[in-house]
Protein backbone atom coordinates (compact mmCIF):
# COMPACT_ATOMS: atom_id res chain seq x y z
CA UNK A 1 0.00 0.00 0.00
CA UNK A 2 1.62 3.21 -1.15
CA UNK A 3 1.84 6.48 0.68
CA UNK A 4 0.29 8.49 -2.15
CA UNK A 5 -2.48 10.86 -1.12
CA UNK A 6 -5.71 9.60 -2.68
CA UNK A 7 -6.90 13.01 -3.84
CA UNK A 8 -5.56 16.54 -3.97
CA UNK A 9 -7.21 19.51 -5.64
CA UNK A 10 -5.28 22.80 -5.68
CA UNK A 11 -6.95 26.10 -6.56
CA UNK A 12 -9.10 24.42 -9.17
CA UNK A 13 -11.18 26.49 -11.53
CA UNK A 14 -13.66 24.77 -13.81
CA UNK A 15 -16.68 25.79 -15.78
CA UNK A 16 -18.82 25.01 -18.81
CA UNK A 17 -18.57 27.75 -21.38
CA UNK A 18 -18.81 31.08 -19.60
CA UNK A 19 -20.38 29.69 -16.45
CA UNK A 20 -17.92 28.86 -13.71
CA UNK A 21 -18.89 25.96 -11.50
CA UNK A 22 -15.83 25.71 -9.30
CA UNK A 23 -13.40 28.53 -8.56
CA UNK A 24 -10.33 28.46 -6.38
CA UNK A 25 -11.31 25.14 -4.87
CA UNK A 26 -8.75 23.25 -2.82
CA UNK A 27 -9.24 19.93 -1.08
CA UNK A 28 -7.12 17.06 0.29
CA UNK A 29 -8.45 13.62 1.01
CA UNK A 30 -6.09 11.38 2.99
CA UNK A 31 -5.88 7.61 3.06
CA UNK A 32 -8.60 5.94 5.11
CA UNK A 33 -10.84 9.00 5.16
CA UNK A 34 -14.54 8.91 4.38
CA UNK A 35 -15.68 12.24 2.96
CA UNK A 36 -19.29 13.26 2.45
CA UNK A 37 -19.47 15.84 -0.31
CA UNK A 38 -22.46 18.01 0.54
CA UNK A 39 -24.08 21.13 -0.81
CA UNK A 40 -27.08 22.46 -2.62
CA UNK A 41 -28.34 20.90 -5.82
CA UNK A 42 -26.24 21.97 -8.71
CA UNK A 43 -23.31 20.78 -10.72
CA UNK A 44 -20.54 21.45 -8.21
CA UNK A 45 -20.35 18.15 -6.36
CA UNK A 46 -20.61 15.81 -9.33
CA UNK A 47 -18.23 18.06 -11.25
CA UNK A 48 -15.63 17.71 -8.53
CA UNK A 49 -15.85 13.93 -8.71
CA UNK A 50 -15.49 14.04 -12.49
CA UNK A 51 -12.34 16.10 -12.12
CA UNK A 52 -10.93 13.53 -9.72
CA UNK A 53 -11.42 10.79 -12.30
CA UNK A 54 -9.93 12.83 -15.18
CA UNK A 55 -13.32 12.82 -16.90
CA UNK A 56 -12.91 16.59 -16.97
CA UNK A 57 -9.83 18.75 -16.61
CA UNK A 58 -9.51 21.98 -14.64
CA UNK A 59 -9.06 25.20 -16.52
CA UNK A 60 -6.77 26.38 -13.74
CA UNK A 61 -5.16 24.61 -10.82
CA UNK A 62 -4.19 20.96 -10.40
CA UNK A 63 -5.91 17.70 -9.63
CA UNK A 64 -3.72 14.86 -8.39
CA UNK A 65 -5.37 11.46 -7.94
CA UNK A 66 -3.38 8.79 -6.13
CA UNK A 67 -0.18 10.64 -6.90
CA UNK A 68 -0.91 11.16 -10.60
CA UNK A 69 -1.61 14.53 -12.11
CA UNK A 70 -4.82 14.33 -14.13
CA UNK A 71 -3.66 16.90 -16.69
CA UNK A 72 -3.16 15.28 -20.05
CA UNK A 73 -4.50 11.95 -18.85
CA UNK A 74 -7.69 10.06 -19.49
CA UNK A 75 -10.09 8.27 -17.10
CA UNK A 76 -8.86 4.84 -18.20
CA UNK A 77 -5.41 5.84 -16.90
CA UNK A 78 -6.84 5.89 -13.38
CA UNK A 79 -8.92 2.71 -13.50
CA UNK A 80 -6.23 0.79 -11.64
CA UNK A 81 -6.24 3.09 -8.62
CA UNK A 82 -9.68 4.68 -8.50
CA UNK A 83 -13.20 3.32 -8.68
CA UNK A 84 -16.21 5.43 -9.62
CA UNK A 85 -19.82 4.46 -9.01
CA UNK A 86 -21.98 6.64 -11.25
CA UNK A 87 -25.58 7.64 -10.62
CA UNK A 88 -27.89 5.12 -12.30
CA UNK A 89 -24.97 2.75 -12.70
CA UNK A 90 -27.11 0.05 -14.21
CA UNK A 91 -26.92 2.06 -17.44
CA UNK A 92 -23.41 0.69 -17.96
CA UNK A 93 -24.15 -3.04 -17.55
CA UNK A 94 -23.61 -5.01 -20.73
CA UNK A 95 -22.08 -8.44 -20.09
CA UNK A 96 -23.92 -11.72 -20.23
CA UNK A 97 -23.22 -12.70 -16.65
CA UNK A 98 -22.54 -10.85 -13.43
CA UNK A 99 -19.14 -12.47 -13.29
CA UNK A 100 -18.23 -11.29 -16.80
CA UNK A 101 -19.47 -7.81 -15.97
CA UNK A 102 -17.29 -7.50 -12.90
CA UNK A 103 -14.31 -9.10 -14.64
CA UNK A 104 -14.45 -6.55 -17.47
CA UNK A 105 -12.37 -3.89 -15.73
CA UNK A 106 -9.46 -6.10 -14.61
CA UNK A 107 -9.37 -7.78 -18.00
CA UNK A 108 -9.09 -4.38 -19.69
CA UNK A 109 -6.26 -3.56 -17.33
CA UNK A 110 -4.40 -6.64 -18.47
CA UNK A 111 -4.52 -8.73 -15.30
CA UNK A 112 -3.76 -12.44 -15.58
CA UNK A 113 -6.85 -14.70 -15.51
CA UNK A 114 -6.13 -16.28 -12.11
CA UNK A 115 -5.79 -12.84 -10.55
CA UNK A 116 -9.01 -11.69 -12.23
CA UNK A 117 -10.93 -14.71 -10.98
CA UNK A 118 -9.66 -14.29 -7.44
CA UNK A 119 -10.60 -10.60 -7.33
CA UNK A 120 -14.03 -11.19 -8.85
CA UNK A 121 -14.83 -14.02 -6.42
CA UNK A 122 -13.73 -11.90 -3.49
CA UNK A 123 -15.82 -8.86 -4.35
CA UNK A 124 -18.90 -10.91 -5.29
CA UNK A 125 -18.65 -12.61 -1.91
CA UNK A 126 -18.34 -9.29 -0.09
CA UNK A 127 -21.49 -7.97 -1.72
CA UNK A 128 -23.51 -11.17 -1.40
CA UNK A 129 -23.63 -11.66 -5.16
CA UNK A 130 -21.93 -15.06 -5.29
CA UNK A 131 -25.22 -16.86 -5.95
CA UNK A 132 -26.01 -14.49 -8.82
CA UNK A 133 -22.59 -14.77 -10.46
CA UNK A 134 -23.84 -16.71 -13.49
CA UNK A 135 -27.01 -14.74 -14.00
CA UNK A 136 -27.67 -12.08 -16.61
CA UNK A 137 -27.52 -8.65 -14.98
CA UNK A 138 -30.73 -7.54 -16.67
CA UNK A 139 -32.62 -10.43 -15.06
CA UNK A 140 -31.83 -9.09 -11.63
CA UNK A 141 -33.91 -6.54 -9.68
CA UNK A 142 -32.79 -2.88 -9.59
CA UNK A 143 -30.97 -2.85 -6.25
CA UNK A 144 -29.05 -6.00 -7.12
CA UNK A 145 -27.95 -4.48 -10.41
CA UNK A 146 -26.60 -1.51 -8.52
CA UNK A 147 -24.63 -3.86 -6.32
CA UNK A 148 -23.17 -5.43 -9.46
CA UNK A 149 -22.08 -1.98 -10.63
CA UNK A 150 -20.54 -1.35 -7.22
CA UNK A 151 -18.73 -4.68 -7.44
CA UNK A 152 -17.31 -3.57 -10.77
CA UNK A 153 -15.99 -0.37 -9.15
CA UNK A 154 -14.45 -2.29 -6.24
CA UNK A 155 -12.89 -5.27 -7.99
CA UNK A 156 -9.64 -3.43 -8.71
CA UNK A 157 -9.07 -2.70 -5.00
CA UNK A 158 -9.12 1.04 -5.57
CA UNK A 159 -7.19 3.46 -3.35
CA UNK A 160 -9.91 6.03 -3.95
CA UNK A 161 -13.58 5.12 -4.24
CA UNK A 162 -15.93 7.77 -5.56
CA UNK A 163 -19.66 7.24 -5.04
CA UNK A 164 -22.44 9.34 -6.55
CA UNK A 165 -25.69 8.81 -4.61
CA UNK A 166 -24.78 5.22 -3.74
CA UNK A 167 -27.93 4.42 -1.75
CA UNK A 168 -30.52 5.77 -4.19
CA UNK A 169 -32.83 2.98 -5.28
CA UNK A 170 -31.41 0.46 -2.83
CA UNK A 171 -33.48 -1.63 -0.48
CA UNK A 172 -32.42 -2.16 3.13
CA UNK A 173 -30.46 -5.34 2.49
CA UNK A 174 -28.41 -3.73 -0.24
CA UNK A 175 -27.80 -0.60 1.86
CA UNK A 176 -26.39 -2.70 4.66
CA UNK A 177 -23.99 -4.41 2.22
CA UNK A 178 -22.82 -1.12 0.76
CA UNK A 179 -22.21 0.27 4.25
CA UNK A 180 -20.18 -2.81 5.26
CA UNK A 181 -18.09 -2.66 2.12
CA UNK A 182 -17.32 1.04 2.46
CA UNK A 183 -16.23 0.64 6.08
CA UNK A 184 -14.04 -2.34 5.19
CA UNK A 185 -12.44 -0.42 2.35
CA UNK A 186 -11.61 2.51 4.62
CA UNK A 187 -10.20 0.16 7.23
CA UNK A 188 -7.79 -1.11 4.56
CA UNK A 189 -6.57 2.41 3.96
CA UNK A 190 -8.53 3.42 0.89
CA UNK A 191 -10.29 6.79 0.80
CA UNK A 192 -13.97 7.17 0.06
CA UNK A 193 -15.57 10.28 -1.40
CA UNK A 194 -19.36 10.19 -1.58
CA UNK A 195 -21.90 12.62 -2.94
CA UNK A 196 -25.03 11.72 -1.02
CA UNK A 197 -28.32 13.05 0.31
CA UNK A 198 -28.69 10.04 2.57
CA UNK A 199 -27.43 11.57 5.81
CA UNK A 200 -28.13 8.36 7.73
CA UNK A 201 -25.77 6.48 5.42
CA UNK A 202 -23.21 9.27 5.61
CA UNK A 203 -23.29 9.33 9.42
CA UNK A 204 -22.81 5.58 9.47
CA UNK A 205 -19.88 5.16 7.11
CA UNK A 206 -18.21 8.55 6.63
CA UNK A 207 -16.52 10.90 9.06
CA UNK A 208 -15.71 14.14 7.27
CA UNK A 209 -18.07 16.69 5.73
CA UNK A 210 -17.00 18.95 2.88
CA UNK A 211 -19.65 21.48 1.94
CA UNK A 212 -19.58 23.10 -1.50
CA UNK A 213 -21.19 26.47 -1.87
CA UNK A 214 -20.55 29.34 -4.24
CA UNK A 215 -17.98 27.43 -6.28
CA UNK A 216 -15.68 26.47 -3.43
CA UNK A 217 -15.47 24.65 -0.12
CA UNK A 218 -17.20 26.64 2.60
CA UNK A 219 -17.02 24.10 5.39
CA UNK A 220 -14.67 21.25 6.02
CA UNK A 221 -15.31 19.63 9.36
CA UNK A 222 -16.00 16.31 11.04
CA UNK A 223 -19.39 15.09 9.87
CA UNK A 224 -20.74 14.88 13.39
CA UNK A 225 -19.99 18.58 13.88
CA UNK A 226 -22.18 19.44 10.93
CA UNK A 227 -25.12 17.05 11.28
CA UNK A 228 -27.80 18.49 13.51
CA UNK A 229 -25.95 21.79 13.86
CA UNK A 230 -26.77 23.25 10.46
CA UNK A 231 -30.31 23.85 9.19
CA UNK A 232 -29.62 22.15 5.84
CA UNK A 233 -28.23 19.01 7.46
CA UNK A 234 -30.50 17.66 10.19
CA UNK A 235 -29.19 14.84 12.36
CA UNK A 236 -30.38 11.50 11.02
CA UNK A 237 -32.45 9.42 13.48
CA UNK A 238 -29.73 7.09 14.80
CA UNK A 239 -27.25 9.90 15.33
CA UNK A 240 -29.88 12.02 17.05
CA UNK A 241 -30.85 9.15 19.33
CA UNK A 242 -27.24 8.24 20.10
CA UNK A 243 -26.44 11.80 21.12
CA UNK A 244 -29.48 12.10 23.33
CA UNK A 245 -28.68 8.81 25.05
CA UNK A 246 -25.13 9.90 25.72
CA UNK A 247 -23.69 7.54 23.09
CA UNK A 248 -22.08 10.25 20.97
CA UNK A 249 -18.89 8.34 20.22
CA UNK A 250 -20.59 5.18 18.96
CA UNK A 251 -20.95 4.67 15.20
CA UNK A 252 -24.63 5.53 14.49
CA UNK A 253 -25.55 2.20 12.93
CA UNK A 254 -28.07 -0.41 14.03
CA UNK A 255 -25.32 -3.00 14.28
CA UNK A 256 -23.26 -0.95 16.72
CA UNK A 257 -26.06 0.65 18.74
CA UNK A 258 -28.35 -2.35 19.24
CA UNK A 259 -25.95 -4.34 21.45
CA UNK A 260 -25.66 -1.33 23.74
CA UNK A 261 -29.41 -1.08 24.09
CA UNK A 262 -30.28 -4.69 24.83
CA UNK A 263 -29.81 -4.44 28.60
CA UNK A 264 -33.34 -4.30 29.91
CA UNK A 265 -34.26 -1.15 31.86
CA UNK A 266 -34.42 -3.08 35.13
CA UNK A 267 -30.77 -4.02 35.05
CA UNK A 268 -29.52 -0.49 35.41
CA UNK A 269 -27.69 2.13 33.39
CA UNK A 270 -26.61 1.69 29.79
CA UNK A 271 -23.08 0.67 28.94
CA UNK A 272 -21.46 3.38 26.85
Amino acid sequence: MGALTPLVLEAVRFGYGSERVLDGLSLRVEAGEGVALLGANGAGKTTLTRLAMALRHPQQGRVVTCGRLTAGKKPEDFADVAGYLFQNPEAQLFARTVRAEVAFGPERMGWHPPRVMEAVDRVLGELGLASDAARHPYDLPGPTRRLVALAAALVGSPRLLILDEPTAGLDRGARVRVAEVVLALRAQGAAVLAVTHDLGFAAEVLDRAVVLEGKRVTRDAPLSDLLGHHPDFPAPPLLDLARRLGLEGVRPAIGTLAPLLTSPPETGTLQA
Binding site: A40, G42, Q87, E165, G169, G200, P237, R244, I254, T262
Partner: protein
Protein backbone atom coordinates in the same frame (compact mmCIF):
# COMPACT_ATOMS: atom_id res chain seq x y z
CA UNK B 1 -67.06 6.10 -3.99
CA UNK B 2 -63.31 5.91 -3.51
CA UNK B 3 -60.95 7.66 -5.88
CA UNK B 4 -59.34 4.31 -6.62
CA UNK B 5 -60.91 0.89 -6.34
CA UNK B 6 -59.01 -2.25 -7.26
CA UNK B 7 -61.02 -5.45 -6.76
CA UNK B 8 -59.31 -8.82 -6.91
CA UNK B 9 -56.83 -7.53 -9.44
CA UNK B 10 -54.23 -9.84 -10.88
CA UNK B 11 -51.49 -8.69 -13.25
CA UNK B 12 -48.69 -10.49 -15.04
CA UNK B 13 -46.08 -8.69 -17.09
CA UNK B 14 -45.51 -10.01 -20.62
CA UNK B 15 -42.98 -12.79 -20.72
CA UNK B 16 -43.09 -13.39 -16.98
CA UNK B 17 -44.33 -16.65 -15.53
CA UNK B 18 -45.03 -15.33 -12.05
CA UNK B 19 -47.74 -12.70 -11.57
CA UNK B 20 -46.77 -9.31 -10.13
CA UNK B 21 -50.19 -8.84 -8.51
CA UNK B 22 -52.47 -11.54 -7.12
CA UNK B 23 -56.03 -10.96 -5.89
CA UNK B 24 -55.12 -7.38 -5.08
CA UNK B 25 -57.91 -5.39 -3.45
CA UNK B 26 -57.08 -1.77 -2.61
CA UNK B 27 -59.18 1.34 -2.05
CA UNK B 28 -57.77 4.84 -1.87
CA UNK B 29 -59.97 7.61 -0.47
CA UNK B 30 -60.05 11.25 -1.42
CA UNK B 31 -58.65 13.58 1.18
CA UNK B 32 -56.30 10.95 2.58
CA UNK B 33 -52.67 9.90 2.11
CA UNK B 34 -52.49 6.15 1.53
CA UNK B 35 -49.03 4.68 1.80
CA UNK B 36 -47.93 1.45 0.13
CA UNK B 37 -44.81 -0.40 1.14
CA UNK B 38 -43.39 -3.87 0.88
CA UNK B 39 -40.31 -5.90 0.15
CA UNK B 40 -38.61 -5.68 -3.20
CA UNK B 41 -40.88 -7.06 -5.88
CA UNK B 42 -43.93 -7.09 -3.62
CA UNK B 43 -45.97 -5.28 -6.24
CA UNK B 44 -46.34 -1.70 -5.01
CA UNK B 45 -44.97 -0.15 -8.21
CA UNK B 46 -47.11 -2.44 -10.35
CA UNK B 47 -50.20 -1.52 -8.35
CA UNK B 48 -49.60 2.15 -9.19
CA UNK B 49 -49.12 1.42 -12.88
CA UNK B 50 -52.34 -0.59 -12.93
CA UNK B 51 -54.16 2.24 -11.18
CA UNK B 52 -52.90 4.63 -13.86
CA UNK B 53 -53.92 2.24 -16.60
CA UNK B 54 -50.40 2.14 -17.95
CA UNK B 55 -50.41 -1.53 -17.10
CA UNK B 56 -51.50 -3.20 -19.35
CA UNK B 57 -51.95 -0.42 -21.91
CA UNK B 58 -48.27 0.51 -22.19
CA UNK B 59 -46.55 -2.40 -20.54
CA UNK B 60 -48.50 -5.19 -22.19
CA UNK B 61 -49.36 -8.20 -20.06
CA UNK B 62 -52.54 -9.61 -18.63
CA UNK B 63 -54.83 -7.93 -16.11
CA UNK B 64 -57.72 -9.60 -14.34
CA UNK B 65 -60.18 -8.22 -11.84
CA UNK B 66 -61.73 -4.78 -11.74
CA UNK B 67 -60.08 -1.37 -11.58
CA UNK B 68 -61.97 1.90 -11.21
CA UNK B 69 -59.87 5.06 -11.18
CA UNK B 70 -62.04 8.12 -10.57
CA UNK B 71 -64.94 5.93 -11.60
CA UNK B 72 -63.45 4.82 -14.93
CA UNK B 73 -61.45 1.82 -16.05
CA UNK B 74 -58.05 3.44 -16.69
CA UNK B 75 -57.05 0.84 -19.26
CA UNK B 76 -60.27 1.18 -21.20
CA UNK B 77 -60.12 2.59 -24.70
CA UNK B 78 -62.09 5.72 -23.98
CA UNK B 79 -59.98 6.74 -21.03
CA UNK B 80 -56.86 8.39 -22.39
CA UNK B 81 -58.75 11.62 -22.88
CA UNK B 82 -61.00 11.48 -19.83
CA UNK B 83 -58.35 10.88 -17.21
CA UNK B 84 -55.85 13.27 -18.70
CA UNK B 85 -55.00 15.90 -16.13
CA UNK B 86 -57.03 14.27 -13.38
CA UNK B 87 -54.52 11.59 -12.43
CA UNK B 88 -50.92 12.53 -11.67
CA UNK B 89 -48.23 9.88 -11.93
CA UNK B 90 -44.78 10.60 -10.50
CA UNK B 91 -42.09 7.94 -10.89
CA UNK B 92 -38.71 7.75 -9.26
CA UNK B 93 -36.45 8.53 -12.20
CA UNK B 94 -37.03 12.19 -13.04
CA UNK B 95 -34.96 12.28 -16.22
CA UNK B 96 -37.31 10.02 -18.18
CA UNK B 97 -40.37 11.96 -17.09
CA UNK B 98 -39.35 15.14 -18.83
CA UNK B 99 -41.24 15.80 -22.03
CA UNK B 100 -38.03 16.36 -23.95
CA UNK B 101 -39.46 19.24 -25.93
CA UNK B 102 -39.42 22.02 -23.40
CA UNK B 103 -36.65 24.58 -23.65
CA UNK B 104 -37.25 25.96 -20.19
CA UNK B 105 -38.52 24.63 -16.88
CA UNK B 106 -41.56 26.91 -17.19
CA UNK B 107 -42.41 25.32 -20.55
CA UNK B 108 -41.92 21.89 -19.03
CA UNK B 109 -44.40 22.62 -16.25
CA UNK B 110 -46.78 24.10 -18.83
CA UNK B 111 -46.60 20.97 -20.98
CA UNK B 112 -49.62 19.10 -19.66
CA UNK B 113 -51.94 22.12 -19.24
CA UNK B 114 -51.15 23.18 -22.81
CA UNK B 115 -51.99 19.68 -24.05
CA UNK B 116 -55.30 19.98 -22.27
CA UNK B 117 -56.03 23.24 -24.04
CA UNK B 118 -56.04 25.52 -21.00
CA UNK B 119 -56.16 29.25 -21.79
CA UNK B 120 -52.76 30.92 -21.70
CA UNK B 121 -53.48 33.07 -18.66
CA UNK B 122 -54.54 30.10 -16.58
CA UNK B 123 -51.38 28.26 -17.65
CA UNK B 124 -49.07 31.10 -16.68
CA UNK B 125 -50.70 31.52 -13.27
CA UNK B 126 -50.70 27.78 -12.61
CA UNK B 127 -47.04 27.42 -13.60
CA UNK B 128 -45.96 30.32 -11.39
CA UNK B 129 -47.88 28.85 -8.45
CA UNK B 130 -46.52 25.35 -8.92
CA UNK B 131 -42.91 26.56 -9.23
CA UNK B 132 -43.33 28.66 -6.08
CA UNK B 133 -44.74 25.76 -4.06
CA UNK B 134 -41.86 23.51 -5.11
CA UNK B 135 -39.35 26.21 -4.25
CA UNK B 136 -37.95 26.51 -7.77
CA UNK B 137 -39.18 29.82 -9.25
CA UNK B 138 -35.52 30.70 -9.89
CA UNK B 139 -35.29 27.78 -12.32
CA UNK B 140 -38.14 28.98 -14.56
CA UNK B 141 -35.87 29.95 -17.44
CA UNK B 142 -33.41 27.05 -17.17
CA UNK B 143 -32.97 24.33 -19.75
CA UNK B 144 -34.41 21.17 -18.17
CA UNK B 145 -31.52 19.17 -19.56
CA UNK B 146 -29.07 21.04 -17.33
CA UNK B 147 -30.86 20.39 -14.05
CA UNK B 148 -29.46 18.26 -11.27
CA UNK B 149 -31.40 15.17 -10.16
CA UNK B 150 -33.12 16.94 -7.30
CA UNK B 151 -34.05 19.99 -9.39
CA UNK B 152 -35.43 17.70 -12.07
CA UNK B 153 -37.55 15.81 -9.59
CA UNK B 154 -39.02 19.05 -8.25
CA UNK B 155 -39.75 20.15 -11.81
CA UNK B 156 -41.55 16.92 -12.60
CA UNK B 157 -43.66 17.19 -9.46
CA UNK B 158 -44.48 20.83 -10.25
CA UNK B 159 -45.52 19.71 -13.73
CA UNK B 160 -48.12 17.46 -12.11
CA UNK B 161 -49.11 19.84 -9.32
CA UNK B 162 -50.11 22.51 -11.83
CA UNK B 163 -52.96 20.26 -12.95
CA UNK B 164 -54.51 20.13 -9.46
CA UNK B 165 -55.11 16.42 -9.94
CA UNK B 166 -57.81 14.46 -8.17
CA UNK B 167 -55.58 11.44 -7.69
CA UNK B 168 -51.84 11.34 -7.09
CA UNK B 169 -49.92 8.15 -7.79
CA UNK B 170 -46.33 8.48 -6.56
CA UNK B 171 -43.61 5.85 -6.74
CA UNK B 172 -40.55 6.75 -4.65
CA UNK B 173 -40.89 10.46 -5.50
CA UNK B 174 -38.16 11.64 -3.14
CA UNK B 175 -35.29 9.43 -4.29
CA UNK B 176 -33.21 12.33 -5.64
CA UNK B 177 -34.20 14.99 -3.09
CA UNK B 178 -32.15 16.32 -0.20
CA UNK B 179 -33.52 16.71 3.34
CA UNK B 180 -35.22 20.03 2.60
CA UNK B 181 -36.75 18.67 -0.60
CA UNK B 182 -38.10 15.60 1.17
CA UNK B 183 -39.65 17.72 3.89
CA UNK B 184 -41.25 19.90 1.22
CA UNK B 185 -42.58 16.86 -0.58
CA UNK B 186 -44.12 15.36 2.53
CA UNK B 187 -45.78 18.65 3.43
CA UNK B 188 -47.11 18.80 -0.12
CA UNK B 189 -48.73 15.38 0.27
CA UNK B 190 -50.69 16.68 3.24
CA UNK B 191 -51.79 19.91 1.56
CA UNK B 192 -52.94 17.97 -1.48
CA UNK B 193 -54.96 15.63 0.71
CA UNK B 194 -56.38 18.66 2.50
CA UNK B 195 -57.42 20.04 -0.90
CA UNK B 196 -59.45 16.88 -1.35
CA UNK B 197 -57.17 14.86 -3.63
CA UNK B 198 -56.52 11.19 -3.04
CA UNK B 199 -52.81 10.54 -2.55
CA UNK B 200 -51.38 7.08 -3.07
CA UNK B 201 -47.64 6.83 -2.46
CA UNK B 202 -45.30 3.86 -2.62
CA UNK B 203 -42.21 4.60 -0.59
CA UNK B 204 -39.40 2.95 1.31
CA UNK B 205 -38.66 6.25 3.10
CA UNK B 206 -40.44 5.00 6.20
CA UNK B 207 -39.06 7.69 8.49
CA UNK B 208 -40.36 10.44 6.23
CA UNK B 209 -43.75 9.10 5.18
CA UNK B 210 -44.81 7.61 8.53
CA UNK B 211 -45.50 11.08 9.86
CA UNK B 212 -47.78 12.16 7.00
CA UNK B 213 -49.66 9.02 5.96
CA UNK B 214 -53.23 8.35 7.11
CA UNK B 215 -53.22 4.74 6.10
CA UNK B 216 -50.58 2.08 5.50
CA UNK B 217 -51.01 -0.91 3.21
CA UNK B 218 -48.24 -3.51 3.27
CA UNK B 219 -47.79 -5.67 0.20
CA UNK B 220 -46.25 -9.11 0.15
CA UNK B 221 -45.82 -11.29 -2.93
CA UNK B 222 -48.22 -9.28 -5.05
CA UNK B 223 -51.06 -8.65 -2.64
CA UNK B 224 -51.90 -6.40 0.32
CA UNK B 225 -51.49 -8.33 3.57
CA UNK B 226 -51.76 -5.53 6.14
CA UNK B 227 -54.01 -2.48 6.13
CA UNK B 228 -54.31 -0.01 8.97
CA UNK B 229 -53.07 3.11 10.66
CA UNK B 230 -49.31 3.59 10.22
CA UNK B 231 -48.82 4.23 13.91
CA UNK B 232 -50.41 0.90 14.86
CA UNK B 233 -48.77 -1.25 12.18
CA UNK B 234 -45.28 0.16 12.46
CA UNK B 235 -44.96 -0.62 16.15
CA UNK B 236 -45.55 -4.34 15.73
CA UNK B 237 -43.97 -7.39 14.19
CA UNK B 238 -46.39 -8.20 11.33
CA UNK B 239 -44.89 -5.46 9.15
CA UNK B 240 -41.47 -7.09 9.49
CA UNK B 241 -42.86 -10.58 8.96
CA UNK B 242 -44.33 -9.36 5.69
CA UNK B 243 -40.85 -8.49 4.47
CA UNK B 244 -41.30 -4.74 4.79
CA UNK B 245 -39.67 -2.42 7.30
CA UNK B 246 -40.68 0.05 9.97
CA UNK B 247 -38.93 3.28 11.01
CA UNK B 248 -35.20 3.36 11.74
CA UNK B 249 -35.80 3.65 15.48
CA UNK B 250 -38.24 0.72 15.43
CA UNK B 251 -35.66 -1.28 13.48
CA UNK B 252 -33.09 -0.48 16.13
CA UNK B 253 -35.52 -1.56 18.83
CA UNK B 254 -36.19 -4.80 17.07
CA UNK B 255 -32.48 -5.49 16.68
CA UNK B 256 -32.03 -4.73 20.36
CA UNK B 257 -34.68 -7.30 21.27
CA UNK B 258 -37.34 -4.82 22.39
CA UNK B 259 -40.81 -6.31 22.09
CA UNK B 260 -43.78 -4.67 20.36
CA UNK B 261 -45.19 -2.01 20.65
CA UNK B 262 -41.90 -0.29 19.78
CA UNK B 263 -40.86 3.35 19.74
CA UNK B 264 -41.11 4.90 16.26
CA UNK B 265 -39.50 8.32 16.56
CA UNK B 266 -36.31 9.58 18.16
CA UNK B 267 -38.31 11.26 20.94
CA UNK B 268 -40.08 8.01 21.75
CA UNK B 269 -36.79 6.15 21.54
CA UNK B 270 -35.17 8.44 24.05
CA UNK B 271 -38.13 7.96 26.38
CA UNK B 272 -37.88 4.20 25.91
CA UNK B 273 -34.17 3.88 26.60
CA UNK B 274 -33.06 6.81 28.71
CA UNK B 275 -32.75 6.52 32.42
Amino acid sequence: MSALEMQGVGFTYPGESAPALVQCTVHAESGAVTWLTGALGAGTSTALLVAAGLAPRHTGGQRSGQVRTLGLDPAGHSSPGSLGGRVALVLSSPATQLSGIAETVAQEVAFAPANLGWPRERIHEGVARALAILGIPHLAGRDPGTLSGGEMQRTVIAAMLVLEPELWLLDEPTSALDAAGRALMHALLRTEAARGAAVLIASEDTDGVAAVADRLIVFEAGRPVLDGRPDDLLRGDPVWNAGAASTTIAALGRAAGIRAPRALTVDEGVAQWAR
